[in-house]
């Protein structure tokens, strides 16, 4: 792999454009408007073409203005058609952006022979060529695209910081925002304007469709990683930056394995972002697939543990003094948890809640205290449900059985109070 200064500039440009997209993308993901990013980035095509045809040059500012106008119009038309016709949001988006895209395609074809505007370039960018078009600045050659994207990133950053609270409230609760005097639809259109502008700025580097990857994927991945907005914003920036780095490295190394030179960096940036997303999807601590499965297993283990302790307590309560302890296989059958029960029993012995002898299992002093509290919760719940809620049928046992696992000391005390300091549960068993 030959790494040159060009490669560094490609990565820097890619990072800047990916980060400026990702920052706004967080809000698109939170507002459930990800596809609006898709619609806008497709729809700006005629804006670009018209600006091109009017100015006859690839001057960034004209293109920016034309495309932003069309982008905001798209957001507006989608909204209008949705309200006027009762079509759902997806359909009205689909109608608007395909129409505008088709219009743009025709305009570009018409213009293609005298302006240097290639639909392919618009769709997936030409980040590999950006370092060739440079600004001279203090003896340093900086690619124009890097400057544009850095400026856009600063604008977006300023917007997000200045309107952090407003954006947060309008994203999570637009109705509340309106009642406390924040102009929710105003925020919406400012956001849409910035999305359109960012899309244009990122056009040259990642193209109109891969811009969507940078808008949505980092934000979505960050959303799975954390529940706090500020952290989500920071994480999305990191993920966007990493996608650009890994994307370019992938683009120049992976094809080498098959004996080819290289491939599209923009495409590989989207793939890298996708790979990061897949990792997060599976391995995020709380919201990842394995994380959730792990939590579920932990929970079921805890419930099995509670069941075993309570079973042993009840057994000792009923058994006459001096009778032999209950055998491990009986416990296993009683809690109906299969082989997980054996694992839990092993853990209980290890923690010294349960004594294991040749004849079977018995509670230690420590285990007894824990088990007493569980049975107490169970019987208090039964009493409460029966006396206070008139819920005395057979299955009150099962309701109490579910609730006992989530009852702590404070709740117990409250139950005692509410149930009127009872001594016996509805089945006439003493409440310990």
């Amino acid at each position: 792999m030959d790494w040159t200064v060009l490669d560094s500039w490609i990565v820097v440009t890619g990072m800047l454009s990916a980060m400026s997209c990702a920052l706004l993308g967080n809000y698109l993901v939170l507002r459930r408007m990800s596809m609006m990013g898709d619609a806008i980035s497709h729809a700006v095509l005629p804006g670009l073409a018209i600006a091109f045809l009017i100015s006859g040059s690839r001057d960034s500012l004209t293109m920016m203005v034309g495309a932003v106008l069309i982008g905001v119009m798209t957001a507006f038309l989608v909204e209008a058609i949705q309200k006027l016709s009762g079509l759902d949001r997806g359909a009205s988006m689909g109608v608007i952006f395909t129409t505008l895209f088709a219009l743009g395609l025709i305009l570009i074809r018409q213009a293609a022979d005298h302006v240097d505007l290639d639909p392919g370039c618009v769709l997936y960018g030409a980040i590999e060529l950006t370092p060739l078009d440079v600004y001279e600045w203090g003896g340093l050659e900086i690619p124009r695209a890097a400057v544009t994207n850095a400026a856009m990133l600063l604008v977006n950053l300023a917007f997000v910081l200045a309107f952090y609270k407003e954006l947060k409230i309008t994203s999570f609760d637009p109705a509340l925002a309106t009642t406390i005097g924040i102009n929710a639809s105003g925020m919406h259109y400012v956001l849409m304007t910035l999305v359109a502008a960012t899309t244009i700025a990122a056009f040259e580097s990642v193209g109109s469709i891969l811009v969507i990857a940078m808008l949505i994927v980092p934000g979505a991945a960050a959303h799975l990683l954390t529940d706090r907005l500020a952290r989500m914003l920071a994480l999305s920036l990191v993920i966007a930056g990493l996608s650009a780095v890994f994307g370019h490295i992938g683009a120049i190394t992976v094809p080498g394995w098959f004996g080819l030179r290289d491939t599209s960096t923009a495409g590989m940036m989207a793939v890298a972002a996708g790979a990061i997303f897949v990792c997060v999807f599976f391995f995020a601590p709380h919201h990842g697939v394995t994380g959730r499965a792990f939590n579920r297993i932990l929970l079921s283990m805890r419930i099995t543990r509670d069941d075993i302790l309570a079973f042993l307590y009840r057994f000792q309560e009923l058994a006459p003094e001096g009778s032999p302890p209950v055998s491990a296989s009986d416990v296993e059958n009683a809690v109906k948890a299969g082989s997980a029960a054996r694992l839990v029993m092993w853990d209980l012995v290890r923690r010294k809640y349960v004594d294991r002898s040749a004849e079977g299992l018995s509670l230690t002093e420590e285990g007894r205290g824990l088990a007493r509290s569980l049975v107490r919760s169970h019987r208090l719940w039964e009493t409460y449900l029966c006396n206070k809620m008139g819920f005395c049928a057979e299955d009150v046992h099962y309701s109490a059985h579910r609730l006992e696992h989530v009852t702590d000391k404070a709740l117990q005390d409250q139950l005692v109070e509410e149930a009127g300091y009872p001594f016996q549960d509805p089945h006439r068993k003493t409440i310990p």
Partner: protein
């Protein structure tokens, strides 16, 4: 009112677009104005004499028909944008299939192979969307965006590899992105035609099942229908239409054929069966006309023209649709507004006489003659514009409900009095209901009732009378608050 505001602003937006497009035309496009076809060429295309044109036009028409039919179900299932995600997801499939075929046969341009690759990946894409939706807290929009962009990125990267391969000639692959209708050969058209016919047949065969799944999937499941399998089958048909449409209109615009015709058909009818046929017809028409136009003008990409034809149909439907079109909605709204103005005038006049003459019949006519209000008094009773007021007055007079008592004083005809009594009764019943059952202060009920009285129907009035047992069926309830007419009197 909000709707009207949006309409007006949308109009301005559309106007801006036209202006800017016009400027673009004069600025840049005029230099390469389109070559308009000669009459002979037009005739050739219209009569389908040219073999190639015939193939292309018929293929595009059948594609439009199939897409319009299955798109209807897609739209009703609220999955319009899923088609966008799965069409973008086909790109890596096309590139991979190409590379695989080059590796095996040395030539990658077998349409069937490419289409098979596309189909596999669009199913994978749909599966990924479902997976993300089901197993994470991301909503469907994020899932669609992620799948669409990542698969497309993968596709671009693979295309980059494919074009750098020494053998295989990947030059035409990008036509799958934008479509290249004009290069369709007989075999392509045959494939499209066969697939379209299959889709059409299945849409008709499974009409009832699909309808059930679209409108109430939970109910269908409870009735024992295999909803999951039907859903999958429906999506499979969407995949088929998408992949055969790739070549014709390209993967970005093929969604338009699935979304726009049914959306347009929605404005004309409330019945699913007619919507289905209309949508199919719109799709077929867009395909035929679009392919025809692009056959006439060499420089226009066919996919885009087909989509713009469909968009034109959509705009026409949005405006003139007989079920939900804007013109019809506007007329209905206007009719309702006029009716409300008339009823308000009747009520004000009734209350005017009520405070002066009482409600008992004997003596009412003499009292009316003595106390009839003139235009200025009536106008000041309510915050209405003079124009609205004059119009209502005129309409009520010509309907024979009001009559001129002197040169500038108005009173009820017998029918007018009965009508006014009915209106006031509705108003007061609703006011009483609001006070007794919704705990609204008597001072505030007038406005609440003002909005609702015009839409109360007979059934609702009967129910109100039952609920408000204090009110005897025939009598006129007392107004719970001071009347504007009496304030003027003091």
């Amino acid at each position: 009112m909000n709707g009207m505001g949006i309409m007006r602003r949308a109009g301005i937006c559309a106007g801006l677009l036209v202006i800017s497009a016009g400027r673009a035309w004069s600025g840049g496009l005029a230099e390469h104005a389109l070559e308009w076809p000669s009459g002979a060429e037009l005739l050739r295309v219209l009569t389908l004499q040219d073999y190639n044109t015939r193939v292309v036009i018929i293929g595009a028409g059948l594609l439009g028909l199939a897409a319009g039919l299955i798109g209807t179900f897609l739209l009703l299932r609220k999955r319009a944008l899923l088609s966008d995600a799965l069409s973008h997801a086909t790109l890596p499939g096309i590139a991979l299939a190409f590379m695989l075929m080059v590796a095996i046969w040395g030539d990658g341009k077998h349409l069937l192979g490419l289409i098979a690759g596309a189909a596999v990946f669009s199913v994978l894409g749909t599966g990924s969307v479902m997976l993300i939706q089901r197993h994470s807290r991301l909503k469907d929009d994020a899932a669609l965006g992620i799948v669409l962009s990542v698969y497309f990125g993968l596709g671009i990267a693979l295309m980059g590899l494919a074009t750098r391969m020494e053998s295989g000639n990947a030059a035409g692959l990008s036509s799958f992105i934008y479509g290249k209708t004009a290069s369709m050969v007989f075999f392509d058209a045959l494939l499209i035609g066969a697939a379209a016919v299959v889709c059409i047949l299945f849409c008709l065969l499974f009409f009832k099942e699909f309808t059930l799944v679209c409108f109430d999937a939970a109910y269908a499941a409870s009735q024992g229908w295999p909803v999951g399998r039907l859903d999958f089958f429906m999506m499979a048909l969407v995949v088929v239409v998408t992949v055969i449409g790739l070549q014709a209109v390209g993967l970005i615009l093929v969604v338009a054929l699935l979304i726009i015709p049914p959306s347009a058909a929605r404005f004309w009818t409330e019945r699913l069966r007619s919507m289905l046929w209309l949508s199919g017809a719109f799709g077929a028409l867009s395909g035929l006309v679009g392919a025809g136009i692009s056959a006439l003008m060499a420089n226009l990409p066919a996919g885009a023209v087909i989509v713009l034809t469909a968009s034109l149909l959509f705009i026409l439907s949005l405006t003139f649709g007989t079920a939900r079109g804007l013109v019809r909605l506007g007329l209905e709204r206007r009719r309702l507004r006029l009716k409300i103005n008339r009823e308000n005038l009747l009520r004000e006049l009734y209350e005017w006489f009520e405070t002066r003459c009482g409600t008992s019949d004997p003596g009412f006519n003499e009292c009316q003659l003595l106390n009839a209000p003139g235009r200025p008094e009536l106008l000041s009773l309510r915050a209405w514009t003079p124009a609205h007021f004059r119009r209502s007055l005129r309409e009520l007079q010509s309907a024979g409900l009001l009559k001129k008592i002197s040169s500038d004083a108005f009173g009820f005809t017998p029918e007018g009095l009965a009508k006014a009594q009915a209106v006031v009764r509705k108003h007061r019943l609703w006011e009483t209901y609001l006070i007794t059952h919704a705990d609204i202060a008597p001072g505030n009920v007038d406005w609440g009732a003002d909005e609702i009285e015009h839409v109360l129907d007979l059934d609702l009035i009967a129910t109100l009378e039952q609920v408000l047992t204090a009110t005897r069926p025939a009598g006129m309830p007392q107004s719970p608050h001071e009347l504007a007419a009496s304030e003027r009197n003091v």
